[in-house]
């Protein structure tokens, strides 16, 4: 079965793809923190921030359509959160767009602020995972001293989520092949419950066999990994560019626009 792997463009080659995963990870974390720290009624500064991840996506050759699709997929969760701010911020406010002035409320301003922050941080996140192989990302996390157990869990999650999705598809297909009519809410729920139960038992069995495979290869509870990562000149250049960009916005553009 074919899946929409989040790192499907990570196997391309570009200057961004060739960067060390640690450098990209740290840059994205700092970038996200700065975007989140933008005051809740400011919008224009977020457009400036968007330039950074947008440049990474363009240089990395990541299709805009793919990026937008993934932003739209996650957006409902943020939309619900953002919509609630409209209900609370009733104070009137005038917003100037060059020669135009729009009268609105602080709630709506906050709504667009949350949405814009979400889009900009998602751009950065997609730029990171689309230009870095998941294994490299995990290696980067490990080198950045993220607890090994957490890194291993993330690795297992990414490795087996698609196996689990395949199982779900097989079960749904088997049901669809035999379900010829609507059986009523109670019977449908009972069937769904059995399906979830079967999936749970399968997952437990799979986990047991993975554990066996690990023990058969000498696993004794300590995860040993082999990774060689080296920061090179191009990584230093990226660091310098990212720092200059963020400092320019933070020290010069941001005070002028807020």
């Amino acid at each position: 079965m074919h899946h929409a792997y989040i790192d499907k463009f990570a196997y391309q080659d570009s200057p961004v793809h060739r960067l060390d995963s640690r450098v990209k990870l740290v840059a994205v974390i700092v970038f996200t923190a700065l975007v989140i720290s933008v005051p809740r009624h400011s919008l224009s500064i977020l457009v400036c921030y968007a330039v950074g991840p947008f440049a990474m996506l363009v240089i990395g050759g990541i299709p805009i359509r793919f990026t937008l699709k993934h932003i739209v997929i996650v957006s409902p969760f943020v939309l619900v959160l953002a919509a609630s701010s409209v209900l609370y911020g009733k104070a009137p406010v005038a917003v100037e767009f060059g020669p135009f002035t729009v009268h609105t409320t602080t709630g709506w301003l906050q709504f667009f602020n949350i949405l814009a922050k979400f889009v900009v941080t998602m751009l950065a996140l997609i730029a990171l995972v689309s230009t870095t192989r998941f294994a490299e990302l995990l290696r980067g996390l490990e080198k950045l001293r993220v607890p090994k157990l957490l890194v291993v869990q993330l690795g297992f999650l990414y490795r087996y989520i698609f196996v689990l999705i395949d199982s779900v598809h097989h079960i749904l297909r088997a049901r669809a092949g035999r379900k010829l009519r609507y059986l009523g809410a109670k019977a449908e729920l009972k069937t769904a419950g059995s399906m979830v139960g079967s999936l749970l038992i399968r997952s437990i069995n799979t986990a047991e066999r993975i554990s066996m495979a690990m023990q058969a290869r000498g696993f004794d509870g300590t995860f040993r990994t082999h990774s060689k990562m080296r920061i090179t000149l191009k990584d230093y250049l990226f660091c310098a560019a990212a720092c200059s960009f963020l400092l320019l916005i933070y020290l010069i553009i941001r005070p002028a626009l807020i």
């Binding site: 490795r159 066996m212 495979a213 023990q215 290869r217 000498g218 082999h226």
Partner: protein, 241 residues
């Protein structure tokens, strides 16, 4: 020279009371290729797990002169490699390199020695240049070869495989037969596919209902249509006149 595998009167009952293995005795010499054949539920997979020290039953299991027991499991597992039926369960690391390196790393092999060992093994199974690939990006045949590579990287003397040919198309199966035929290790292959077993193994052990019912030369056992039929098996097409 000790036997590669020596099992004496091994019995195992699952926690639900199902008798999986009953008084199983088996001796395998170093370098032998043995097919464990039998219908589903005969106890083939359970016997392979017992050889790897995953099951605590009564009786004696000795691998390469060492009795399988809690204290020497690690030593046993560096002698006998286990390839599970489903490669998705065997390949659990983010990349092929990490997966193949997992066993050697646990054996204390690091650095350049590790890298060259992984690369050599990947070359041997026909996956050279794919070490950076994620297991979910491999085809079924490649996954099977990768699963064998994970075990070969530990240089075991014995390789136990559970249904290695399941879900493979004819081309991948052919590739697997060629790969396994080129190995020097003692092979114990549990299989329901008689043609596959006949191609690779010189000895066949028939299992049914948790017991060994026949043991001998693969050809002699597999041409015995009465015996094969009795245990829910069939004479391989290559042996049919």
């Amino acid at each position: 020279m000790p036997s590669a595998v020596e099992i004496e009167g091994f019995c195992y009952t699952y926690p639900d009371g199902t008798v999986a293995l009953s008084d199983v005795s088996l001796k395998i010499s170093p370098g032998e290729r043995v097919a464990l054949i039998g219908p589903n539920g005969a106890g083939k997979s359970t016997l392979l797990l017992a050889m790897n020290g995953f099951l605590k039953g009564s009786g004696r299991v000795v691998i390469d002169g060492k009795q399988v027991a809690g204290r020497n499991k690690k030593a046993i597992r560096s002698v006998i490699g286990c390839v599970l039926q489903n490669p998705d369960e065997q390949l659990f690391m983010p990349t092929l390199f990490d997966d193949v390196a997992f066993g050697p790393l646990n054996m204390g092999i690091v650095g350049r020695q590790l890298t060259s060992r992984v690369e050599n093994v990947l070359r041997k199974v026909g996956l050279a240049g794919m070490s950076h690939k994620a297991p979910h990006h491999l085809s079924a045949g490649q996954k099977r070869a990768a699963a064998i590579a994970t075990v070969l990287a530990m240089s075991p003397a014995i390789i136990a495989m559970d249904e290695p040919d399941s879900h493979l198309d004819p081309r991948s199966r052919r590739g697997l037969v060629e790969l396994l035929a080129g190995l020097e290790q003692t092979l114990v292959i549990a299989s329901c596919n008689m043609n596959f077993a006949a191609e690779l193994c010189s000895r066949a052990v028939v299992m049914d209902q948790g017991s060994i019912t026949a043991d001998g030369k693969a050809r002699e056992i597999m041409v015995n249509s009465e015996l094969m039929l009795k245990h829910g098996l069939e004479v391989p097409s290559s042996f049919k006149v």
